[in-house]
């Protein structure tokens, strides 16, 4: 007797609650995850606000994590049916996420691959497989040459170098050594641990006439004459007696530049914020130096957004709409204004105002001849470049041997990765 009453009560409660949900239905909530970086979170809050205003039936909940926990959290949540419907990831992680079935391809009717090829900067094509795109960026990053205006004025130089010869020439004028030959002020900064490994791979090697990788970045191809010339040029910049930069000078390149002890410095657009906060530093920025006959080459990287395998049915539809918005021109302009990262489409990036912007302009113009390395393990591949230069500097190995060793080691890394994926 008692039991039936309890059952009836339970049924009533269940139907009651479901009726309650039914009335407020249509309101789909999707989750968005990214790693914590103040400006990115602020920008995303603005995007979500605009998106929700335009789509009152969808709410987006953003969650962010410290960078260090990000991967583990994503990996644990999605297979458990928790976590994000739309997720942010570094372009270099795409293969891992695809292999682990954490993300699904974007629908081809809303994101036709050929249209994306036409509308986005070319390096975004790294996210394409067959007829579908797996992920798309809101913003991209590239490299440029920062220079210290005070040191330029002091040396009586009017403007930044336009090509590599001028880089060396002007660098010499601003390099100072003490009586014992110790470097006290550098014309340029140098370290493979910073952005130089990108500059060397995608910049110098190509500018010296080489092609760093073949076969969709599956074959290392810099162990060539062009690669050797690029390496010798690079190491020469940091020559202890005659160079314009010092390996290990002021510990880190960006520290030397910030302290006003180095006149020129190659870095990414993400450095702008911290340079702006450096008191007493008068800096300018210009495109990476071309070769004497005008060959330019740059490196670009980006974070992408993708739809996870957790998003299904109405959540999937909402996620697609959200993806459309975060890859729209409007979203890209907001991202540029708030975060300082560059728009991923020429239609936004190359507007008159953006392309000729004093600070963003050189980075945006650099995107036109930028390449994106398809890393399988960026830190391991960078380490090989660091070791290559260390062998030359610390162990007296010839540039040719060090280059050959690095190329072989990197090829092995690529082979191992593609064999198991």
């Amino acid at each position: 007797m008692e039991l039936t009453r309890l059952k009836a009560l339970a049924t009533a409660a269940v139907t009651g609650t479901s009726a309650l949900f039914a009335t407020s239905a249509q309101a789909v909530e999707i989750e968005y995850w990214q790693y914590f970086f103040d400006a990115r979170v602020t920008a995303m809050e603005q995007l979500i606000e605009n998106f929700e205003a335009a789509n009152p039936d969808i709410t987006v909940k953003m969650t962010h994590f410290p960078y260090a926990d990000y991967r583990t959290k994503v990996a644990a949540a999605i297979p458990a049916g928790e976590g994000p419907d739309v997720v942010q990831l570094f372009y270099g992680w795409l293969n891992d996420y695809k292999a682990a079935q954490l993300i699904q391809p974007l629908p081809t009717d809303v994101f036709p691959a050929d249209q994306i090829d036409a509308e986005f900067f070319p390096m975004v094509a790294a996210m394409r497989e067959g007829d579908a795109y797996w992920a798309l960026p809101t913003a991209v990053r590239s490299l440029a040459l920062f220079y210290n205006k005070r040191l330029f004025d002091e040396a009586g130089i009017d403007g930044p170098p336009e090509n590599l010869d001028q880089l060396v020439e002007l660098g010499k004028m601003m390099t100072k050594r003490d009586g014992a030959g110790n470097l006290t002020q550098a014309g340029f900064t140098i370290a493979m641990t910073a952005q130089d490994h990108h500059w060397w791979r995608e910049g110098l090697v190509r500018q010296f006439g080489g092609e760093p990788y073949l076969d969709d970045y599956k074959t290392v191809n810099y162990n060539t004459e062009a690669g050797l010339k690029a390496l010798e040029f690079y190491v020469g910049l940091g020559d202890a007696a005659n160079g314009i930069a010092g390996f290990g000078f002021m510990d880190e390149p960006q520290a030397a530049f910030k302290a006003g002890r180095a006149a020129m410095h190659i870095d990414g657009s993400f450095r702008i914020g911290s340079l702006n906060k450096t008191r007493g530093l008068k800096w300018g920025v210009t495109e990476l130096p071309a070769t004497a006959d005008g060959v330019k080459s740059n490196y670009s990287s980006y974070w992408v957004n993708a739809i996870t395998t957790k998003a299904k049915d109405e959540k999937y539809d909402a996620a697609v709409k959200f993806m459309q918005y975060v890859t729209s021109d409007e979203a890209m302009q907001i991202w540029l204004d708030v975060v300082g990262e560059l728009p991923a489409k020429p239609s936004v990036g190359l507007t008159e105002a953006n392309a000729s912007h004093e600070v963003f302009g050189p980075f945006i113009r650099g995107l036109e001849n930028a390449n994106t390395t398809k890393f399988v393990n960026e830190s391991a591949q960078r380490q090989l470049m660091v070791d290559m230069v260390a062998r030359i500097n610390l162990e007296g190995v010839s540039a040719a041997d060090a280059l050959a060793e690095a190329a072989a080691a990197e090829q092995k890394l690529l082979d191992d990765f593609y064999a198991s994926n």
Binding site: T72, D96, A100, L183, T184, G248, D251, S379, A380, D387
Partner: protein, 295 residues
């Protein structure tokens, strides 16, 4: 049922009830992850996908990995240089500090201070000391007198000792305190008897002090050995950018494990390295038990 138990049995039940808390804690926090790591060492796992069985592959890879053997050597260099040097220095300091009356407490505090300081902060300060001209403290000092600069961290030979030095210095405080406690525990009557017999200070040191300090020394040897085998903070912070560099000459085992796990995301391989480290630490601990039993 509880009512039917004898008092003795009830005591046992209660003992286990209280013991259950640490036992559960140890099982969940220590034994489960340890066992799990051993299982993962026989698997391939990149944190994202499924775990797949790999057999002995990770251990085979370890055996043929040149970097692993280099790292293995580095780890033992940290141990073989670090432990004796730190013990000799701390013993000498403790021995003399013990006889000093002048500002005894203050001096002891000064030696203990580095032990309380964050290893990370200390590593970055030493990293700055070691920089070349124009910022490095040591090199600026050398350059002042026209002596050529020393490449402390950017050298395949100097970097490891340069990193070891602050690690030794940081551990001194603790070792000095333990040595002083050991010294105070030796009965004064032995020394009085020795003085009456006219024995020299030198003989007193080698015939009375050091033999009676044996338990202290054994404890410190084991404790600091484990510390040096697990060295990480100093190396990681003094070589960020080129972690464990240049050319892996400063990389200890723990840093290699960290990199394999959290930059290469090769959890299986990292676990295999962890198991090897575990075995090394286990051997050191068993050796300690053997020495203590010998007493």
């Amino acid at each position: 049922m509880y009512r039917n138990l004898s008092i003795r049995q009830k005591q046992i039940v209660w003992a286990w009830a209280f013991l259950a808390i640490p036992v559960v804690f140890y099982v969940v926090i220590r034994f489960y992850p340890t066992g799990n790591a051993m299982v993962i060492s026989f698997q391939n796992w990149n944190l994202l996908g499924d775990r797949t069985f790999a057999g002995w592959e990770n251990y085979r890879k370890l055996w043929h990995d040149e970097v692993f053997w280099q790292v293995f050597r580095n780890t033992f260099v940290y141990l073989i240089l670090g432990t004796p040097i730190s013990l000799v220095i701390s013993f000498l300091l403790a021995y003399h500090l013990d006889k000093t009356r002048f500002m005894h407490g203050f001096l002891r505090m000064l030696y203990f201070l580095p032990f309380m300081t964050s290893a990370v902060a200390m590593a970055w300060v030493w990293r700055w000391f070691y920089q070349p001209v124009p910022i490095g403290l040591f090199n600026n000092f050398l350059a002042e007198f026209g002596i050529p600069q020393i490449a402390f961290l950017r050298s395949t030979t100097n970097a490891l000792p340069a990193i070891l030095a602050p690690a030794i210095w940081a551990g001194l405080g603790f070792q000095i305190i333990i040595f002083m406690a050991g010294l105070r525990a030796i009965p004064q009557s032995y020394y009085e008897a020795a003085r009456i017999d006219g024995v020299s200070n030198f003989t007193q040191l080698f015939e009375i002090t050091i033999p009676l300090l044996k338990p202290t020394i054994v404890f410190l040897v084991v404790f600091s050995s484990i510390g040096f085998l697990r060295i990480f903070d100093q190396v990681f912070n003094m070589t960020t950018g080129d972690p464990g560099g240049p050319l892996n000459t400063t990389k200890p085992l723990v840093l290699m494990i960290y990199q394999t796990a959290f930059t290469d995301f090769d959890m299986g391989y990292a676990s295999a390295q962890t198991v090897v480290l575990f075995l090394i630490l286990l051997l050191v601990s068993l050796f300690q038990l053997y020495l203590l039993r010998d007493r």
